[in-house]
């Protein structure tokens, strides 16, 4: 509505709205915005409905198959294992004591200092030659070093054989880790990396349990991973 002078009609009658085109534009913008927001809200409601309906939002840790990482069950298994009495090279001791005994040389102050590590969990990273060097620097007498190493080797092998025997289970696969060795527990021995274990068990339902030791102020840990075999008679309901 333009008057003769090219002025908007609103100039003569101020109550009339002048900028109709601007208002139309804003209204259209808001209509579009409203539609977009409406569909976003619809999507939100569909999402919430799906979550609430499927129950996934309320899914707690899966208890199916009694296996979940860091569970109490795994910790109890490790405690029972470590407290089990065995005959270790002629002595009746627990597996816990056998582990400590096998580590006893490395927990000695002078040997530990020579190893140049801050905790005994890193012992696996120290090469055989460096370990030998640390023992030679600590014991001076080479014959003594040979004796100590032979004894340690014997203890380690015996410990391995005990673990193979104790962790023989038709329903579970185990991975054992201590500063001296680590590996998948198989009927023929203990070997392979944790990735080999994962590849073997093919499940994420792994119970991890850890026991910390403190001997002569030196700390190290023993870890046991266990996983139930998938399918078969172990999972029959």
């Amino acid at each position: 509505m333009i008057n003769k002078k090219g002025q908007p009609k609103g100039r003569e009658n101020p109550t009339l709205v002048k900028n109709k085109r601007g208002q139309l534009g804003s209204t259209v913008t808001w209509m579009v915005a409203f539609t977009i927001i409406f569909f976003i809200m619809l999507l939100y409601l569909v999402g919430v409905g799906a979550l609430a309906g499927s129950g996934k939002a309320f899914k707690f840790k899966d208890y199916e198959g009694d296996s979940n990482v860091d569970s109490l069950m795994g910790q109890r298994k490790l405690i029972v294992l470590l407290n089990s009495e065995i005959e270790f090279l002629g002595e009746d001791i627990t597996i816990r004591e056998a582990v400590v005994k096998s580590m006893s040389v490395y927990t000695q102050d002078d040997v530990f200092l020579e190893l140049n590590i801050d905790n005994l969990d890193k012992l696996k990273q120290v090469s055989w030659l460096s370990r030998r060097e640390a023992l030679e620097n600590s014991f001076v007498d080479r014959q003594k070093v040979d004796e100590v190493q032979n004894e340690m080797g014997e203890q380690e092998n015996f410990l391995r054989s005990i673990l193979i025997q104790r962790l023989k289970d038709e329903c579970y696969s185990y991975f054992f880790r201590c500063p001296l060795f680590e590996g998948v527990v198989l009927s023929g021995g203990i070997g392979g990396s944790y990735y080999d274990y994962l590849d073997r068990v093919r499940t994420k339902d792994i119970l991890k349990s850890v026991m910390n030791f403190n001997e002569n102020g030196k700390t190290f840990s023993v870890e046991l991973y266990s996983s139930k075999h998938i399918g078969g008679k172990c999972n029959e309901k």
Binding site: W30, L45, A52, M73, R76, V80, N83, S84
Partner: protein, 170 residues
């Protein structure tokens, strides 16, 4: 005059603005209501917790606690479990604890509602919706008998039919 025009424009816009506000507020309220009014099934988790509780109560540093085989041993009292919910009529819970030395059953304690156990077993065999859920545990505990260390098998079965309710909004 310009001011008046602006006010007019805002009046038209405010309708849409109101719609958007109402839509967002209503949508959020409806979403929250839908989420919190969904059923929460805790039966299996509850059974698992119950089994773990019994194991932790019977376990003493890897050993089976010494007083289990005494005549006056009260599993529910020692494990701090409310016995009433197991023994009342139409109980929603069932608990069975048995201890074996090889094939010899040394200890057995179970609550009343055997039907819950049966229904749970059926529920595991076929697909059901409202059958009770159970959790079964089998663990080895150490035990010293006549100076000799033994490994006893402790089996615990917990069944729950307490499906739970919707979370209250207020």
């Amino acid at each position: 005059m310009n001011k008046m025009n602006k006010v007019g424009g805002e009046k038209i816009l405010s309708i849409w603005w109101f719609f958007v506000l109402a839509l967002v507020a209503g949508g959020i309220a409806l979403g929250v209501f839908m989420f919190f009014s969904a059923d929460i099934d805790v039966r299996e988790v509850e059974s698992g917790i119950m089994v773990n509780r019994v194991y932790d109560c019977l376990n003493n540093n890897g050993y089976l606690r010494g007083d289990v085989f005494l005549e006056d041993f009260d599993l529910y009292e020692e494990c701090d479990i409310n016995i009433d919910v197991f023994l009342e009529d139409g109980a929603g819970y069932y608990l069975n604890v048995s201890i074996f030395d090889g094939n010899i059953n040394l200890f057995e304690n179970h609550s009343r509602s055997e039907d819950l156990k049966t229904n749970c077993v059926i529920g595991q065999g076929i697909k059901t919706k409202n059958f009770p859920k159970c959790f079964f545990g089998e663990e080895n505990f150490l035990y010293i008998s006549e100076g000799v260390q033994k490994e006893l098998v402790v089996k615990v079965l917990a069944v729950s039919d307490q499906k739970g309710r919707s979370l209250p909004l207020l």
